[in-house]
Amino acid sequence: MDTLNLLMEGFASALTPINLLFAFLGVLLGTAVGVLPGIGPAMAIALLLPATYGMQTDAALIMFAGIYYGGMYGGSTTSILLNTPGESATVITAIEGHKMAKAGRAAQALATAAIGSFIAGTIGTALLVAFAPIVADFAVSMGAPSYMAIMLLALITVTAVLGSSKIRGFASLGLGLAIGLVGMDPVSGQNRLVFGFAPLADGLDIVVVAVAIFAIGEALWIAAHLRRTPVKTIPVGTPWMGRQDWKRSWKPWLRGTAYGFPFGALPAGGAEVPTFLSYVTEKKLSKHPEEFGHGAIEGVAGPEAANNASAAGTLTPMLTLGLPTNATAAVMLAFLVQKGIQPGPFLFDNEPDLLWTMIASLFIGNALLLLINLPLAPMWAKLLKIPRPYLYSGILFFATLGAFAVNLQATDLVLLLVIGALGFAMRRFGLPVLPLILGVIIGPRAEKQLRQTLQLSSGEVSGLFGEPLAVAIYVIIALVLLFPLILKLVRRLRGGSAPALVAPATGPLDGPGTLDAAAESDTAQEQDPDRAAHTVPQPAPQDEHRRKDQP
């Protein structure tokens, strides 16, 4: 019951007028940026980082939590009314949601999204309350080798699992790690990647990097490809639901929540997989499967709940292990670093008041969001009509202002432009942004743990495997990296042998989806013994990566 007491204390401090005000401000801003095209919660928090220097840490964190949750609500409004989801998490919502809106059921789609988000958010936060202390207790017992392994796990899963191209993910991670290296090495006092340029010796300010990548890079990218013909939005009244809608929504809400939380909590779980799984499940279980593709309410209720529950799940590793698994959590962690709070397994132990206040504010923010989203939806929808030149100029203006205000040095603006250009190039060449940001934040910490570990083992590499947990995590890392390969192998073995058995009799029985297997079967048919030799050299390039990350 200790947890409950701590939570109550958290509520007591979150309910003070000033913190309540910041929670309100956060959800308002969050909904606004969620609705606004081209700006998401990660960018919004990055832009606000400089403004929080003079603020209390708890008030700022409460506001950020509100922005995080609010962004999820606002994002669904955009995808339902516009059919152009800004975030990957709301892609699935758009499928049925926009169809509903077109069929004149926008009000019901928005309602089931908002109420589902509220329920999923509340349950998700309750699960966070239940799990966070357990994980935190466990985390405190971890030594440097395990912590180092877990950080590697986070870096590698985010890089290798998310995004469409692994190679581009690792390239992005490399860039982030390189940015993290810039400055004076705290252990040896040596300058790294400074090139005799004094402002670089203190390292690159994480705020400048975050603003550059999220705001400048994004704004320039959009500016270069700005849609000149505005997208048509569907007008909407106040959201409401009939009896039938409630009946069809409540189960998908709960099932979506059950998918969302665990996936959010996994490193690299994200919101895409659970929203997709929820959609597929609802389609299968629905009594109205014929409505899917034409605006089925279950197809909005389930994924939206999954989306919000995963947002709560994401906070579990972030708060207990200091591992952010999405962009918004990464920027929030950057904020904590900026405030001199060390993220890591001791975060919960060191800052219980702060974290419980934030968790309590999540419950409050969720309730506030329901209040401001249901009756005010038509007003939020108007934000979609903001003239784009002003919107993107505003982002550039405030990004510049914020990055400059950190140190009041024009050189920071030069860095902002250079790293912003990098952010632009990354979007152009398909490099995901998240591995870079994680590399910048986690890289220096992983290096510190590595050096600490080897110091304790007096240089013996075996020290890295000194804890059973560390060994287990390295096994998981190996599996994550090798999984696609194993999958390919299995598919090839299965696909290769099946046609080999059947093909002689039936001729071209190449099923759809086994195209590579079919192509391969030609050579594999009569030369079974050769196949083993065929596949052996395959793992080499993938292995290379792992060896480089694991000294």
């Binding site: 003079g54 252990v187 490809h225 849609r227 030149p389 002003y390 590595l450 990566h545």
Partner: protein, 167 residues
Amino acid sequence: MSQVATPAKKRVELLFAAFLFLIGVLVLVDASQIHVTYSQADPVGPKTVPYLVAGLLMASAIALGVTVLRGNLAEGDEGEDVDLGQPTDWKTLLPLVGVFVLNIVLINWAGWVISGTLLFFGSVLALGGRRYVLTFLISLLLAVGSFYGFYLGLGIKLPAGILQGVL
């Protein structure tokens, strides 16, 4: 988003892979020039991780080059206001960067109120805004407002520049 792998598109992406490789080389060379004596307290030293990062960058740059040559080209980032159907619009982008650089040059000498006004005003024009008077008023309001907002609200003194004493 299926793209046709034209030689020009390939060349640009190969250039980017080369850029990544160059960064890797940069990290490598920089690390090799660090002089440290081995110490018992820090067996890893400041060079190990940079070497690993350099290796990661160079390896992924080479891998990227190979996939591009095989015809696996990048997909640009999508978004609500992004229309990937049209090529990069340099006529918008270059003026934007120009205005940004102008702000860097002017911010300390002319002060934030002037440079910030120009930044917003110029950006709106670059992005296609045509209501000059209204835009100028909004720009001025934003710059002056943020100047006083930061000063009074956060205690941060943005440079006043040549308007020192007026503001």
